[in-house]
Symmetry: C2
DNA sequence: GCTACAATCTGTAGAGACTACAGGATCAAG
DNA sequence: CTTGATCCTGTAGTCTCTACAGATTGTAGC
């Protein structure tokens, strides 16, 4: 008796994959083109067929993008996950990303506070003089960093 | 006695402005072109001259971009800050973006935890089998949202 | 098996937000 | 007043997708 399931997930086509992960149809082909997704197996008529691993990989990419990682950063993370490079690399890259993530969280928290205060203020009185520009245009105290 | 300072900030040129806020030289012109920054006064020789208000406005735009606002969202925020539209608009826009910001913070916190755990794990043993893909490729429980 | 319509194929073009370059004018330090 | 840095304008390129066009394939119903 084979260990393989009778229904091991029926191999998705490109449209099904896109729908199931919630991205645009063409994005899948784009990621394949730039080498983030491997060339998948094809049907007789050259239609791409995706298995569960590819679904997982695509979800990882999309999630990373949503969280503000660049394509190249994701490429690096994937390379690590694919086993290229040892634990030292993993440690370096993850802690490095961790710093970026921490900074973003701090920035967003600050923005959250500003937005809450602005909303509260604006809900109360009718002044057209909103504090948002003042609050958000403060010069950063840390050295400039551009992505 | 005038309230104006004798040295009210010496009017920056484009390069000085860009350096002082930490953005690219051409970005300033780009924002002027799409109407986020007003046409500044010029010198006799048509060189742009920026005062403190413009610096503040540009910093606001850049900060907004860093935090994930689109150009059009920033345009709306600036319009509000410029006094076009009432407090109802401010309230709507800010609370709306507050939701986005909250979700981003939550996502980033989760990623932070994953990255910390990965780093800790990888620092200890030499296994090339890192948990990062598994952790980050989990299907989202919330309905899909693409920007 | 045949028909019809959806889905996929390829290549290319467009959008959004910048960023770089070329050829010339201007500014300011010496 | 010279000279090298900075700025001018316009245009073209980059990055990350997204859309379209025309041809091919997949599949459900007859």
């Amino acid at each position: 008796m084979s260990m393989q399931q009778r229904n091991p997930m029926p191999l998705l086509r490109r449209g099904e994959l896109a729908t199931s992960v919630g991205c645009n149809l063409e994005t899948v082909r784009y990621y394949e083109g730039i080498g983030l997704l491997p060339h998948p197996p094809r049907s007789q008529g050259r239609h791409r067929l995706y298995d569960a691993d590819l679904v997982k990989r695509l979800r990882f990419i999309l999630r990373g993008r949503e969280l503000g990682f660049s394509i190249e950063e994701i490429r690096a993370l994937l390379a690590i996950a694919d086993g290229a490079g040892g634990c030292a690399d993993v440690y370096a890259l993850t802690t490095q990303h961790l710093d970026v993530v921490k900074r973003k969280i701090a920035d967003l928290r600050k923005l959250q506070r500003i937005l809450s205060e602005t909303a509260a203020h604006c809900a109360r009185d009718a002044s057209p003089d909103c504090p948002i520009i003042e609050a958000m245009s403060a010069p950063p105290r840390a050295p400039q960093r551009r992505h």
